[in-house]
């Protein structure tokens, strides 16, 4: 197992290198000029040129790329063109809200979606099954921002139960933290719940047809035991796989959710950086997201061994 983990961690190095090259090249050839944004609308072309030179943006691709890679290898992700703050500082400022949002959404989605999928499979063909699948179609179809606006209108403006926007750090208390994240998590979780519920239902339907389920019934096992101890455990591997793949959905959805609920997270940082062409920040955040995704996939692979003892690395 240990050797496997080491191999997988080492395998992330070429992956990250390719991501780094891809991101840097993409930004290099993409149109747009941070110097023009900094200089403002009234600036003369000469002013823009001076700023570009002072930022080193007029230097050749290979020199800039080499310098950036060298700095990354030394743990330095560079300095934001606009804020003059180290990219690592900006990421540190923004990572807690995004992780909080993603973790809460993940917990919410698993807590809701897995029982939904199990029950839908158990009650296949009934109105319960159709209701669950109808909800799943809705979850897939309605955009995150629409759900966000509707939730904010009902629970913040009309009922005045929850805040419209913002984020309170976990260190300031669990409930203030939760209060700010409930609506965004529900909004972001919709599509994720739909995805997990559908895969859970499909996998459970397959497992519930297996011989050992019939045997369990014959031995007098209760319905709850059959569903959650025997069937769900055996259906867990595909469900966990989908949860892992869905992390990418969460990262993409966080960008929209953070904008709708004005949460100062990495998603908004990414959008702001792209609009301003703040290259060091874009590169840093994309590398970080890639790393998180690679890490989550590794974690999912390791989790397989917990749910299915037949899997060995």
């Amino acid at each position: 197992m240990f050797a496997y983990i080491v191999r997988r961690v080492l395998a992330t190095i070429p992956v990250m290198a390719i991501v780094a090259l891809f991101v840097f090249s993409l930004l290099y050839i993409a149109p747009g000029d941070p110097a023009a944004v900094i200089a403002g609308d009234q600036a003369t072309p000469a002013d823009v040129e001076r700023i570009r030179a002072s930022l080193g943006l007029d230097r050749p691709f290979l020199i800039r790329f080499g310098e950036w890679v060298w700095n990354i290898l030394n743990g330095d992700m560079g300095v934001s063109i606009f804020t003059n703050l180290p990219v690592t500082t900006m990421i540190k400022q923004r990572i807690e809200p995004t992780l909080s949002l993603m973790i809460l959404t993940l917990c919410l989605a698993i807590t809701i979606a897995v029982p939904m999928g199990v029950i839908a499979a158990w009650k296949q063909g009934t109105w319960i099954d159709r209701a669950v699948m109808g909800f799943a179609v809705l979850g897939f179809s309605v955009p995150v921002f629409v759900v966000g606006y509707v939730l904010a209108y009902i629970f913040a403006l009309e009922l005045d139960w929850l805040p419209v926007q913002g984020y309170t750090a976990f260190s300031q208390g669990f409930f203030p933290w939760l209060e700010n994240l409930i609506l965004p998590s529900i909004a972001l979780g919709g599509v994720y719940i739909a995805l997990i519920a559908r895969i859970t239902r499909a996998t459970m339907l397959e497992v519930l047809q297996q011989d050992y389920i019939r045997t369990a019934r014959a031995k007098g096992a209760g319905q709850t035991n059959i569903l959650f101890l025997h069937a769900l455990k055996n259906a867990a591997v595909p469900i966990v796989t989908v949860i892992g793949i869905g992390i990418a959905l969460l990262i993409g959805g966080a960008v929209v959710t953070e904008s709708v609920f004005a949460i100062p997270g990495l998603g908004r940082l990414t959008v702001d950086a792209i609009l301003r062409r703040d290259y060091p920040v874009i590169q840093g955040v994309v590398l970080l997201f890639s790393f998180i995704y690679v890490l989550v996939n590794l974690l999912i692979d390791l989790l397989y061994t917990l749910f299915d003892p037949r899997i060995r690395y």
């Binding site: 747009g32 002072s54 062409r277 061994t305």
Partner: protein
């Protein structure tokens, strides 16, 4: 540990972790009454007002840094940090004396050497400052409180240059900061204004915090825009960046913020219906929409093609696309200068008045020799103002019979592409849309976009000597009547030759909670005099 125990242990750890958070401190509510929460027009991504000239930077900087002079609501420069000034009879030597007791936020006194370094840095970036620099003999600190600026020729607009509110403003910084290269950001944000910038609480893209500076000495006069006593009615101002207008609107209605700088027009009726909110015009000087043409390439290198656009253009179409049905928010603009200001002129504006004549415009276009070459329109879609104008323009040019090459892009790309002088197909362009704050269009000194000095002009590079002659005449004008006459001639020459096509004059709203008082209309949000009950 076996598989089952691991799963149980993980669940238990999660519960413990969550419950640990319950012990956190409750949020303090006491400070809320002395804290003003403000939603700015944009993200405060940097905070050096000389290096970055975006309006949002200027708006925050006006709290933190002070100026020698400041425009009042009559657009007249008044003393601010300056206690007195004296100009020699030949107009070549200016002496300025600082008010006593001025301090920077780090506790050090404001000295003449700080003023010299700050004006030197500012004059490298600002158009008026550059003019001053070009005729500068010397700029020196005579002693701790006196500064002397000696020129090679008179510059009657000196106080206007030092007090204007267009970016970059002539902010005074400590000498150690002001010695920073003007094209590099300063390392600290230390000023002598009524509020201190809390750098430790700055989260770019999310929040910026300003705290009352106890040692600030306001002037005795009542405040009027950037002039007079800047007395703060709150101890702390939090800027909360909200990129989504619907969120900002909901937050204002819910009482989570106190003041929203620029609500979009669509949401204003909803805000007006809320009895806890107040809505009013934000900036009486408004904005001027612009249709900027490339004078160096076909088809708009021919004045007849440019005039054909003016003849066909309906400013009402543009303005309705921008502000909808609210007639209070726009007016036609048959000229280039801000309506309601002393130099406003309609001379030569007949071409933009009356019913539009598309047939005559088509004939004019044909006379220009237009042969169907593509007209590349660079239209930023992420800015509602440019997007709305761009849609109207695409329709207008097609009706004129032009071959429209519509490039839908973002503002960052527009900023880069408009600087390119390449031909069509190699990154070149024919027109783009922008807009100018009315405060920047009150006279030629602060109005780059009306200049027509060829390669030195703003993007599009109009080269019209008649316009430049009148700019010079305005600078040298001995009195207000001569200034106005020069501007009338300038306006006519600019319209005859179409420096750019103005698409109209439009205003915007601001909205705030009813318990907030002291908010005034102005070219930027003025926080002094604002308080919460």
């Amino acid at each position: 540990m076996d598989r089952r125990n691991f799963l149980k242990g993980t669940a238990a750890a999660g519960l413990v972790g969550a419950s640990a958070g319950l012990a956190g401190p409750a949020l303090s509510q006491g400070a809320a009454a002395r804290t003003l929460r403000f939603v700015p027009q944009a993200n405060l991504a940097n905070f050096d007002p000389i290096w970055g000239t975006q309006y949002v930077v200027r708006n925050g900087a006006a709290m933190v840094w002070d100026t020698l002079y400041g425009f009042d609501a009559e657009l007249k420069p008044q003393r601010q940090m300056a206690e007195a000034e004296q100009v020699s009879a030949d107009g070549l030597t200016w002496d300025f004396r600082l008010r006593p007791g001025l301090k920077f936020h780090d506790g050090s006194p404001v000295l003449a050497k700080d003023v010299v370094a700050s004006l030197t840095r500012w004059s490298a970036r600002d158009p008026m400052g550059q003019m001053l620099k070009a005729i500068q003999q010397e700029l020196v600190a005579v002693d701790d409180r006196n500064v002397r600026w000696v020129l090679k020729k008179p510059y009657p607009k000196m106080l206007m240059a030092l007090g204007k509110n267009s970016t970059p403003m002539a902010f005074i910084m400590p000498e150690r900061l002001a010695k920073t290269d003007p094209f590099t950001q300063v390392a600290e944000f230390i000023g002598s204004g009524p509020m201190r910038f809390k750098r430790d609480e700055w989260n770019p893209g999310a929040r910026a915090v300003f705290e009352k500076f106890a040692d600030y000495v306001p002037r005795d006069e009542p405040s009027s825009w950037l002039a007079g006593g800047k007395r703060m009615g709150v101890d702390r101002i939090e800027w909360l960046v909200m990129p989504d207008a619907a969120t900002a609107s909901a937050a204002l209605q819910n009482g989570e913020v106190d003041w929203w700088e620029n609500p979009i027009t669509d949401l204003v009726p909803q805000l007006r219906r809320n009895r806890n909110l107040r809505v009013d015009i934000a900036d009486p000087l408004g904005n001027i929409g612009t249709f900027r043409m490339n004078h160096t390439t076909t088809p708009f290198n021919d004045v007849k093609a440019r005039r054909a656009v003016l003849m066909a253009m309906s400013q009402e179409d543009y303005m309705r696309a921008l502000v909808g049905d609210d007639d209070k928010l726009w007016k036609p603009l048959p000229g280039y200068f801000t309506p309601g200001t002393p130099l406003y002129s309609e001379a030569g504006g007949e071409i933009l008045k009356g019913p539009r004549n598309l047939d005559a415009a088509k004939r004019m276009l044909a006379e220009s020799g237009y042969n169907g070459t593509p007209v590349t329109c660079i239209v930023a879609q992420d800015q509602p103002i440019t997007k709305a104008q761009g849609d109207v323009t695409a329709d207008l040019l097609k009706r004129l019979g032009m071959n429209v090459d519509f490039v839908a892009t973002d503002w960052g790309t527009t900023g880069q592409r408009r600087a390119m002088k390449n031909p069509f197909g190699q990154g070149g362009w024919s027109m783009f849309h922008s807009w100018h704050a009315g405060a920047d269009c009150i006279n030629p000194a602060v109005y780059n976009a009306v200049r027509a000095n060829g390669a030195g002009a703003w993007f599009g590079w109009p080269d019209i000597p008649a316009v430049e002659t009148e700019v010079g005449a305005w600078f040298d004008a001995p009195d207000a009547a001569a200034e106005k006459a020069a501007i009338d001639r300038l306006n006519k020459a600019a319209l005859d030759n179409v420096v750019y096509a103005p698409t109209g004059f439009f205003l915007g709203y601001q909205a705030w909670r009813a318990n907030v008082s002291g908010i005034v209309k102005g070219p930027l949000p003025f926080f002094w005099g604002v308080s919460k009950s």
